[in-house]
Symmetry: C2
Subunit: 236 residues, 2 copies
């Protein structure tokens, strides 16, 4: 009953947020002589948000945010060696092994047999392409769409480009803000599969969720059964 | 006679390399107490090349390369304040006014009346989208394609996606390596319009140009007449 089933990538197909969380902890360690971990992380979060408009998403943007925060919180006393350590964190993140989420491999392989699958991910083109390649999942997807922001306009452009009507487009992802609300707004369908943690930037107040029609699943393994149920309901 | 005429963006539609050249000069100024400008620039070039594989293209990547080079060339003695200055260069680059190349505005507007135009640019998705938007030229182009690398495969994917046969695809750009050779390799046509300077990474030895069939124009203003001539030759 869907012409395209599209998946978010980070924290839907593979672990991502946990990599940032670990790096933030290491970053706090470098500045431990100056401030408390809580204050360091809150300042880093503020720098990240400010820099999204300036740099966009991704590891390079995050690294520049760490460096800026280190300079700010040490009033310029951070050393070259410490900044070198921070850059080393970026290198580790960029080459960190892909950790595919439990159940993804078999679910995606199974759905690909009967439906056109797509990845729609926001972020840094270079970094996201590298992750898709390294995930080994690429062959299951007929298209990989990397966009700078997942808003209603971006989704409308994608369904138009692939000549699919919105109601036959299903998006699966872990972000209410990026994967669910804009897809519902254009008349598409959406399945929300929460990840273990949600980046503070992606949280949405409960009040915005009233009367929104989407399905929440605990696990991606439940997706094929949900699709069968939906097909049965619609009589397809 | 072409279904799509595609233009490279940086240094074909607007000045770009000059922005990097100016920033490299300012960067050398920061390290003037440590090394000669020539040595600083050659080390920065080496870091950039090494980092292309790690970070991809764009201003964020270049900024991380400047920071790494500063740490290396000062053996870690570069100060937080100096690194803050380097990050300030990145901010200036990201918001630098777009300088459209002479003749581009009118040529692109004229060609758009009779042909489907496209932009194909490599680099950072976020930065390139922002430049297209700020250029004010976006409306002349039916598609903007941002790719992580301009190789034969990338061009083949683009013509396939737009259902155009390669021989009816024309690419216009300032880089022999990225805009001309891979397009000829897939059977497309190409027009080379050199920019005032070429990034060392984009240079190609003369020996690789033997027996390659492409047209070189001094100025984008000459493009409409060239297209008329080609159409007359082919009898269209």
């Amino acid at each position: 009953m869907f012409d395209i089933i599209a998946f978010d990538a980070d924290d839907t197909l593979w672990h991502n947020e946990s990599l940032f969380t670990e790096t933030k902890r290491k970053f706090s360690g470098i500045l431990a002589n100056y401030h408390s971990p809580e204050w360091i992380e809150s300042r880093l979060d503020a720098t990240e948000i400010r820099n999204l408009e300036r740099y966009g998403y991704g590891i390079k943007s995050f690294t520049l945010s760490m460096i800026e925060t280190a300079i700010e919180l040490t009033e310029g006393r951070v050393t070259g060696a410490e900044i070198h350590q921070i850059i080393g964190f970026a290198w580790e993140m960029l080459k960190a092994p892909m950790r595919i989420l439990d159940g993804v491999q078999e679910t995606v392989a199974r759905l690909a047999e009967s439906c056109r699958l797509m990845v729609i991910t926001k972020g840094d083109l270079f970094e996201q392409e590298a992750k898709v390649a390294r995930s080994g999942l690429g062959d299951h997807f007929s298209h990989i769409e990397i966009v700078s922001e997942k808003n209603q306009r971006a989704y409308e452009a994608i369904v138009a480009r692939h000549q699919v009507s919105p109601e036959r487009f299903l998006m699966v992802g872990n972000s209410i803000k990026s994967d669910i609300l804009p897809v519902l707004a254009m008349g598409g369908r959406a399945v929300y599969i929460p990840y273990e943690t949600t980046w503070f930037h992606e949280t949405v107040p409960d009040s915005e969720l009233e009367q929104k029609e989407f399905v929440e699943l605990r696990h991606i393994r439940l997706l094929p059964d949900l699709l069968d149920d939906l097909a049965a309901e619609s009589g397809e």
